[in-house]
C-alpha cells in the first residue's frame, strides 16, 4: 500500500516537471504577464498601476496602493478572515476552562 503511494507521488512530480517545460523563462520581460500592453492593444493592469500610482495617490510604493486602493475590496475580505480565525480559537478553547470548573465542583 505504501509503495503505491510513493509511485503516485513520483508520478505527480514527473507530471509537474513535464508541464514546466511550457513555461516562459523566469525573468523574461516579454512574457505574457510582463508585457506593457495585452495582445489586443489594451493596456495591461500592472502597467496602469506602475505609471499612475504617483499622480493619482501621491504615494511612491506601488504594492501599498494596489493592496489598499486599487484592490481594497480583497483586503477587506481578508481582514474579515483574520478576525474569524481569532474568534474561532477563542470559542474552541476558552469554553473548556469553564466546563472543567463545572465538572470539578
Amino acid at each position: 500500500m505504501k509503495v503505491v503511494s510513493y509511485l503516485i507521488l513520483a508520478a505527480f512530480c514527473g507530471l509537474l516537471i513535464y508541464a514546466s517545460t511550457g513555461f516562459p523563462n523566469r525573468g523574461d520581460a516579454r512574457a505574457v504577464y510582463n508585457r506593457p500592453a495585452s495582445q489586443a492593444g489594451t493596456p495591461n493592469a500592472p502597467t496602469h498601476y506602475i505609471q499612475k500610482s504617483k499622480e493619482e495617490m501621491n504615494t511612491d510604493n506601488m504594492v501599498t496602493t494596489i493592496l489598499a486602493d486599487y484592490r481594497g475590496y480583497d483586503t477587506l475580505g481578508e481582514e474579515t478572515v483574520i478576525l474569524t480565525a481569532g474568534l474561532i480559537c477563542f470559542l474552541l478553547l476558552r469554553k473548556e476552562k469553564e466546563k472543567n470548573r463545572h465538572d470539578s465542583k
Binding site: 503511494s5 523566469r26 510582463n34 505609471q51 510604493n61 504594492v63 478572515v81 480565525a85
Partner: protein, 126 residues
C-alpha cells in the same frame, strides 16, 4: 540549452518543495506532521508566484525619482506581490485554527495518531 536550464531550474526546485509537502500530508501518521506538510506546501506556492514576477535588470516597485514612472520595464511586476501578502496571512490564520483543533482532539481522545484516532472514533462516537 543553457538558456533553457537557467530559465527553468527554479521551477524544478519549487516542484520539489511541493512534493515534500504532499509527502508530509499524505504519508505521515501524526497530526502535527500533517500540519507542517501543509505549511511547506503553502510556502512553495507563494515562492512560485513571487519569483515569477521578476524581470532581468529591474528594481523594486517603489518609485525612484531618477528613473521616472513612464518606463515599465524598469520595475518588477507588483501585482503578484500584493496577492501573495494576502495568501501569507491566510496561511497563518489557517495554521492557528488547525492547532486549536488539534488541542481539542487531544483533550477529548488523548491520542494524536491517525489510525488510533479512527479506531477510537468508531468505538466511541460522540
Amino acid at each position: 540549452m543553457s538558456e533553457f536550464l537557467v530559465g527553468h531550474y527554479f521551477y524544478w526546485f519549487v516542484f520539489l518543495l511541493m512534493a515534500i509537502g504532499l509527502y508530509g500530508i499524505v504519508l505521515k501518521r501524526n497530526l502535527i506532521k500533517k500540519v507542517i506538510g501543509m505549511s511547506i506546501f503553502q510556502v512553495a506556492i507563494i515562492l512560485f508566484f513571487v519569483a515569477s514576477a521578476s524581470k532581468w535588470g529591474a528594481t523594486v516597485p517603489v518609485l525612484d525619482p531618477k528613473l521616472g514612472a513612464a518606463d515599465t520595464a524598469k520595475y518588477i511586476n507588483p501585482l503578484p506581490h500584493c496577492l501573495m501578502l494576502t495568501a501569507i496571512v491566510v496561511g497563518v490564520a489557517t495554521s492557528g485554527v488547525a492547532f486549536a483543533l488539534i488541542i481539542s482532539i487531544w483533550r477529548r481522545f488523548k491520542t494524536l495518531d491517525e489510525s488510533e484516532l479512527l479506531e477510537k472514533m468508531k468505538h466511541d462516537p460522540d
